[in-house]
């Protein structure tokens, strides 16, 4: 239990800072939860296939101090295409850096979370939504982020504004000198009639190991629209647990695409809480793994109110010694009559040492619903391969074409053209076996 003590020290240090009192209640509760649950082991049903315990045995530097050695040039190497025409929010070692960030859209407010918690305009929102993910993720790792929240940010898009320009979020770990443990945290509020596009990515500088434990909570209000894209293509020793918790508080539309191409142990929690009637959500995901990487996508679609629609499609291609996990849950509460919820997970295994564990779950308490789920594990279609080869296309090329087609079902749902091209390029690169 030495790591609990270690984090307790950080925690007490944070509590002692006077001007951050607003969050101390939540923080204390979360720390108690962390001390109680600890780091999840494979005995925890939600962590059966993903073991992160061993990662915590290694020494990591966890920084509370916002100062860092990352320069603009460091980031330039990783910027996503289209960044000239985008707002950029940059977290370094889990702490928001306003100096490196760029906010060009009007109506987009970006405030440090501690300030927002004290500000009369945002106070209630923060109280209502900050830490909500903890109700769904009952494990120590989520609690740890809340307990040690530091350098977090509150983002609000003003009522009726279409941001026009997307928001790019970069999570950077500076592991050039030592192993880094970082905990980025944000709370995003998409107000009534507003439209927001978010693209998020992660990268680690240097060759040392990193562990990112991120929590992002998003609230989508009446008639608002959110598009959220996550691109994960970090180094093989960059581990992360990344939680995206989306509450559809009013009738709204949410569209998410998660593309995971590389990393160490990567765990994504995507929670979609449909709290209002007539919500619509789309969840797409592609995981294309190589080396010894481990990808775990845990999604929850919780239908609380009637007449909602959700569609989920996750596809995976596992190569080398990689392992893939998919766990999709659909809850339909007793009140949520007339729900339509669909879920599908398809996997291809390319190598002898790759494996995949999938668990599509349905939990339904209302009778007038249409819900289905399906999942498959298989290989490339022999007949399709033969068809291509018989027309003079080499085997390698034929395989790569088929995989591209498999992946394009997901990638076509990336609506930002520049980003879509970028991920398509990343996938094509990977296909040059």
């Amino acid at each position: 239990m030495s790591f609990v003590e270690n984090y307790k020290e950080h925690f007490e240090q944070l509590l002692s800072v006077k001007d951050k009192k607003e969050l101390s209640g939540i923080r204390e509760n979360a720390f108690n939860a962390f001390a109680e649950f600890g780091i999840p082991t494979s005995k925890h049903e939600e962590w059966k296939y993903t073991r992160i315990g061993a990662l915590f045995n290694r020494p990591y530097r966890f920084l509370l101090d916002p100062s860092h050695a990352v320069t603009v040039a460091d980031i330039d190497a990783f910027r996503l295409p289209g960044h000239q025409e985008a707002n950029e929010l940059i977290f370094v070692n889990g702490i928001f850096s306003s100096a490196l960030s760029k906010i060009i859209s009007k109506g987009l407010a970006v405030v440090p979370l501690e300030e927002a918690a004290a500000d009369s305009r945002y106070k209630q929102l923060v109280a209502a939504h900050f830490g909500n993910s903890g109700h769904y993720l009952k494990d120590g790792i989520n609690a740890l982020n809340t307990a040690l929240v530091n350098g977090a940010v509150f983002v609000q898009l003003t009522k009726g504004m279409a941001v026009g320009l997307p928001v790019y979020i970069y999570n950077i770990n500076d592991a050039r000198k030592e192993n880094i443990f970082s905990q980025p945290r944000s709370l995003i509020h998409v107000t009534e009639n507003a439209q927001l596009q978010i693209v998020e990515t992660y990268f680690t500088l240097g060759v040392e190991e990193s562990f990112t434990n991120q929590v992002m909570e998003i609230v989508v209000e009446e008639n608002a629209l959110l598009e959220y894209y996550k691109i994960q293509n970090d180094a093989g020793n960059a581990n992360q647990v990344s939680t995206t918790h989306i509450r559809q508080a009013g009738r709204s539309y949410v569209h998410t695409v998660t593309v995971s191409l590389n990393g160490g142990i990567v765990r994504n929690n995507l929670n979609m809480i449909l709290e209002a009637e007539r919500c619509e959500s789309h969840l797409y995901g592609l995981y294309f793994q190589k080396g010894k990487s481990h990808i775990d996508n845990h999604t929850v679609v919780d239908n609380v109110k009637p007449n909602c629609f959700s569609n989920e499609l996750y596809k995976g291609v596992m190569n080398d010694e990689s392992t893939g996990v998919f766990n999709g849950k659909i809850f339909v509460r007793q009140q949520a009559q007339k729900t339509n919820a669909f879920q599908s997970n398809k996997n291809i295994l390319l190598s002898d040492d790759a494996s995949v564990n999938t668990k599509p779950q349905l939990e339904i308490f209302a009778d007038d619903v249409k819900c289905s789920h399906g999942c498959t594990v298989g290989q490339l279609d022999e007949e399709a391969l033969f068809y291509l080869q018989s027309r003079g296309i080499g085997q390698k090329m034929a395989r790569s074409l088929l995989i591209q087609a498999f992946a394009s079902d997901i990638l076509e749902h990336v609506k930002l053209a520049a980003i879509r091209k970028h991920v398509e390029h990343l996938v094509a690169e990977r296909l040059e076996f």
Binding site: L349, S355, L362, I364, F365, K370, S372, G374
Partner: protein, 495 residues
């Protein structure tokens, strides 16, 4: 489909309809208590209880040792009582249970006439008159009433073929070498909490051995019945099919109405050698508790088969309509190359019943195949969960699995849950899983009403259609009874 089959469908449909009419007023048809003087062990579980059971059954020393070892194992597993299932119930007090209760009988009867008349009446009430079945259906019945096998028929006919079909206690006495060789090879006492408990205190069960190349000419069947108050029933069944043999085994259950929860923890082991096939069918209709969820049987069962040999096949078919709590995962270990595992299930829950049931298919051998068809029907305030595992090991080349689990919801207070686990470690495997949840359409009901079929009958009709794929797997004798059961279990869930 042949004409005969059509006739059968028609008759069973008529029977099913009249069965509903007959039982509209009856709550639990099989709820009665027969007064047979029981020979009971004192309440509670200790080494002494186990010695008592073992002595009662005149078991050899090695068996007692085996039981005691299992008991000590169980004590060590105290913290491992499974809590992961989607079930809610008050903790079981294992010291408040009578672990052995045998109907009093002076000597083993040679013919049915010697059987206690009251006992025979019990069977008649259940509609399984031994003599009737013996003459008309050709089913050999090894009836287990409260833990001890009472009458075994057709034994001689079977023994001519070399088939051993007897009670477990008899097998321990008569065929110790077979029991020693195979017992607990599929479900070891360390497997899980309830398997350990069963190993320590099992009172009786069935033993079946089919020798090489023999095709068992009749359906083997056992009716289990929990009888004396406060008695847990712990059967142990072991079926061995040697190379090239075939056996079909039926298990059916009814139990009288009780207020207190009764515990039931059975273990069933199946072993299929090269080219052998075992078909195991169950109809489970134990007392599910009253409309408010009081009483009912707690059913914690470990059933597992191993396809040991090449091209062997094990098929589980179950119709689960009873019990307050069902915790049951009949599994197949597909060890032999080209072996096949099947699981067909209909689980019906009504009122406050809870079921967490499904299967495990472990693909180990090459070219192994498995098929899972699960139909869950929930009504009232019940919760019905499917929990299944399909595991394809690293060396299981060309493994193939298809799973389908459909849920039907009747009413808006019940729940349907699906927890499929799919683990694939071989790239040549093809695994498919699909699941749907829906309710009976108003248009379907309207269509039936229009044609003069009242709503309750219409629901029974539609439910039977929904479950047909599984019902078709049951042997004929069972299919009729199972269809009746479906209708009875869902009584009063409409409107």
């Amino acid at each position: 489909m042949s004409k005969d089959n059509y006739d059968h469908v028609e008759t069973s449909m008529n029977e099913e309809l009249s069965a509903i009419e007959k039982t509209v007023l009856s709550d639990y048809k099989y709820g009665f208590v027969s007064n047979i003087e029981a020979d009971e062990a004192p309440k509670g579980l200790s080494e002494d209880t186990i010695r008592f059971i073992s002595a009662k059954k005149h078991e050899p020393e090695w068996m007692l040792e085996w039981r005691l070892k299992a008991y000590r194992q169980w004590l060590r597993m105290e913290k491992d009582e499974p809590r992961w299932a989607n079930l809610k119930y008050t903790a079981i007090n294992y010291q408040d249970i009578i672990y052995y209760s045998a109907p009093k009988q002076k000597s083993k009867p040679k013919s049915l006439d010697e059987v206690d008349p009251e006992l025979r009446l019990t069977f008649e009430k259940l509609g399984i008159s031994l003599s009737e079945q013996k003459r008309l259906t050709g089913v050999a019945v090894d009836a287990v009433i409260d833990s001890v096998s009472i009458a075994t028929s057709f034994k001689e006919q079977l023994s001519e073929l070399g088939i051993i079909f007897c009670s477990m206690s008899e097998a321990i006495r008569e065929h110790p070498e077979l029991v020693k060789k195979y017992l607990s090879t599929v479900v070891p006492p360390t497997d899980n909490y309830f398997a350990a408990l069963n190993s320590a205190v099992f009172s009786d069960g069935s033993f079946c051995f089919v020798p090489k190349g023999v095709r068992c000419p009749m359906e083997l069947s056992t009716y289990f019945r929990i009888n004396a108050e406060n008695t847990g029933q712990f059967e142990r069944t072991l079926i061995i099919a040697e190379a090239g043999s075939y056996v079909s085994y039926l298990e059916g259950c009814t139990a009288p109405m009780r207020d207190e929860n009764q515990l039931h923890a059975a273990v069933v082991e199946l072993i299929a050698m090269d080219n052998a096939e075992i078909k195991y069918s169950t109809v489970q209709n134990w007392y599910p508790g009253d409309k408010n969820g009081n009483g009912g049987i707690y059913n914690f069962v470990t059933k597992r088969g191993i396809c040991q040999g090449l091209r062997s096949k094990i098929s589980w078919t179950q119709v689960e309509t009873g019990s307050a709590i069902t915790w049951k995962y009949p599994s197949v270990i597909l060890k032999g190359d080209h072996s096949v595992g099947e699981f067909y299930s209909v689980a019906v829950t009504n009122n406050h019943q809870q079921a967490d049931t499904g299967t495990k298919m472990q693909h180990i051998g090459k070219n192994t195949k498995s098929r899972i068809v699960s139909k869950g029907i929930s009504a009232g305030y019940s919760n019905n969960s499917y929990r299944g595992l399909v595991h394809v090991g690293r060396k299981a080349e060309n493994a193939r699995n298809f799973s389908q689990c459909d849920s039907l919801l009747l009413g808006d207070k019940c729940g349907a849950h699906t927890f499929p686990y799919i683990e694939v470690k071989n790239k040549s495997a093809v695994v498919e899983h699909e699941a749907t949840t829906s309710k009976i359409g108003e248009d379907q009901i309207f269509y039936c009403n229009q044609r003069g079929i009242d709503t309750e009958t219409a629901v029974a009709l539609i439910v039977n259609g929904f479950a047909k794929e599984v019902m078709n797997q049951l042997p004929m004798e069972f299919a009729v009874e199972a269809q009746k059961l479906l209708a009875i279990s869902l009584e009063g869930s409409v409107g």
